[in-house]
């Protein structure tokens, strides 16, 4: 039994044949992916390999040319309450918009450059989605937001503006903003790549805590130590295809493909 497979359950997320080209450049070539509830999937690979595009496609920020994305309901939403988008099927702009929205209903994204709203305080950033989009009561949304901020050690920053925070603090707010949406799926796009090295640990610590709590996560990262400790499955992408996948213990210790070996070697021995 592979580490992402849970006996009896069908996967929470299933991606088949995801393909995309920008003009003549093929950035994704028939990507297949499947992951179970509570699992952590890490995408690694050189820049331009397509890993960020996969992630953005799952959140409807990018529209693939073909492929099917299925996100199943699970316990909270009922087993048949699933979102299924077939990108190859012709769709009018309105339909495309609707499809993107349905994907965003289920997932939340944490960005490399945080993308916090600079004109809103920390608390306002976090409750924006719950109150404005999900139409939840302010008191309830704020109480939950404060509990989440407290969890990442930022409760005392609730009234600060993003520019008053360090990069690591900003990214933790970014994570809390995503959590506040209560998504089924958390997507992280190189969450530590724009941080000073000494701040990376804080953010990775938060990610590890979320994994321990059972959040389902897809993480694009270059942090191999994180991948080794936290991932259930690691996918190595290059040139728009998944070259190799497996449990981190196997993939890192015993990579099968030449390209994987070279990539890992370059990361471990940059000189």
């Amino acid at each position: 039994m592979s580490p992402t497979e849970v006996a009896g359950g069908s996967p929470l997320l299933e991606v088949t044949g995801l393909s995309k080209a920008f003009g003549k450049t093929e950035v994704l070539h028939s990507i297949d992916l499947s992951l179970n509830k509570g699992s952590v999937t890490v995408l690694i690979g050189p820049s331009g390999s397509g890993k960020t595009t996969v992630l953005r496609s799952l959140n409807g920020l990018e529209r693939p040319d073909a492929g099917i994305v299925t996100i199943r309901g699970g316990e909270t939403l009922g087993a048949d309450d699933e979102v299924r988008v077939d990108f190859a099927a012709p769709a009018k702009p309105r339909m495309r918009q609707l499809q993107a929205e349905r994907l965003r209903d289920r997932s939340a994204m944490v960005f490399q450059h945080f993308n916090l709203f600079p004109h809103k305080t920390v608390l306002q950033n976090v409750v924006e989605g719950p109150i404005i989009v999900q139409r939840r009561a302010r008191a309830e949304a704020e109480a939950e937001a404060l509990a989440l901020l407290d969890r990442v050690g930022l409760a005392d920053k609730r009234d600060s503006y993003p520019f008053e925070l360090s990069g690591g603090q900003q990214q933790r707010v970014g994570i809390v903003r995503a959590l506040a949406l209560k998504p089924q799926l958390l997507l992280f796009d190189e969450p530590t790549s724009s941080l000073d090295p000494e701040l990376v640990g804080d953010v990775l610590g938060v990610l590890k805590g979320l994994a321990d709590d059972g959040w389902t996560m897809v993480v694009v990262t270059h942090e191999l130590v994180f991948a080794r400790q936290v991932a259930d499955e690691v996918l190595f992408m290059d040139g728009g295809v998944i070259v190799e996948r497996g449990a981190p213990s196997e993939l890192f210790a015993n990579p099968q493909h030449e390209r994987t070996k070279q990539f890992l070697h370059r990361l471990l021995f940059p000189l």
Binding site: N59, G60, L61, Q97, A100, E101, R104, D105, A108, M109, F111, H113, N115, L116, F117, P118, H119, K120, E128, G129, I132, V133, Q134, Y161, P162, F163, R177, A178, L181
Partner: protein
């Protein structure tokens, strides 16, 4: 010698002209003009070819023709088509279209200056474009556009003097009346200039305050 008596007695009517003419015409035209500008700017960046072309055409005509001519077309020209508009509304129409043309480009640039990631952060929270625009993008664009829009407003206040030529009771028209009556043109026109200047100084102060307020969330 300066005729101080004339100066003080003329200040009343000139200031009153500013109060009931210049300032309300400027405020109404600016408010209306900003609404026009916002829609023109959105049309420009809509990606819909017809809308964007119409918006570009509008901006080109407004910026490419003199304000005085626009004013005359509306007030003296339209009546020949059977469209008779009073001086005050004629002035507000001409000035707000003018502001609409100039401010549209300012607002468009301000919207485009907000990083794409801000739109995406809104989308990932589940917002539609319109919600992202209203709650995320425009507040940030507003900060960027305050200085150039203040310039537009200050220019507008001064341009309202053109309305004297279509018989609007405003600051300069009142000054002209006093000047004609007293024959002391130098004094009265300098006085009119001073009153404009005071109004614009007040606006500059307001602009500084507004900029400070909107700057509270950026690093210095």
């Amino acid at each position: 010698m300066i005729n101080w008596e004339l100066f003080w007695s003329a200040l009343g009517p000139i200031a009153l002209g500013g109060l009931i003419g210049t300032i309300p015409v400027a405020l109404a035209s600016f408010a209306l003009g900003l609404v026009i500008a916002l829609f023109v700017a959105l049309a420009r960046i809509s990606g819909i070819r017809v809308l964007s072309a119409l918006a570009r055409f509008n901006i080109s005509v407004i910026r490419g023709t003199p304000l005085l001519v626009q004013l005359f077309v509306i007030f003296y020209g339209l009546p020949s088509l059977g469209l008779l508009i009073d001086p005050w509304p004629s002035a507000v129409i001409a000035f707000s279209l003018n502001v609409g043309g100039y401010a549209a480009e300012v607002i468009r640039a301000a919207i485009l200056s907000v990083p794409k990631g801000q739109w995406e952060a809104g989308f990932t929270l589940g917002m539609r474009r319109s919600t992202s625009l209203r709650r995320i993008i425009l507040p940030q664009a507003a900060r960027v556009s305050v200085p150039p829009l203040s310039n537009t407003f200050i220019s507008l206040v001064k341009d309202t003097s053109l309305a004297s030529l279509i018989l609007v009771t405003e600051l300069f028209r009142e000054a002209q009346k006093v000047a004609a009556f007293s024959q002391d043109f130098m004094l009265i026109y300098i006085e009119a200039a001073l009153v404009y200047w005071v109004i614009c100084l007040g606006l500059s102060t307001a602009q500084n305050r507004l900029e400070k307020r909107l700057d509270r969330y950026v690093a210095h």
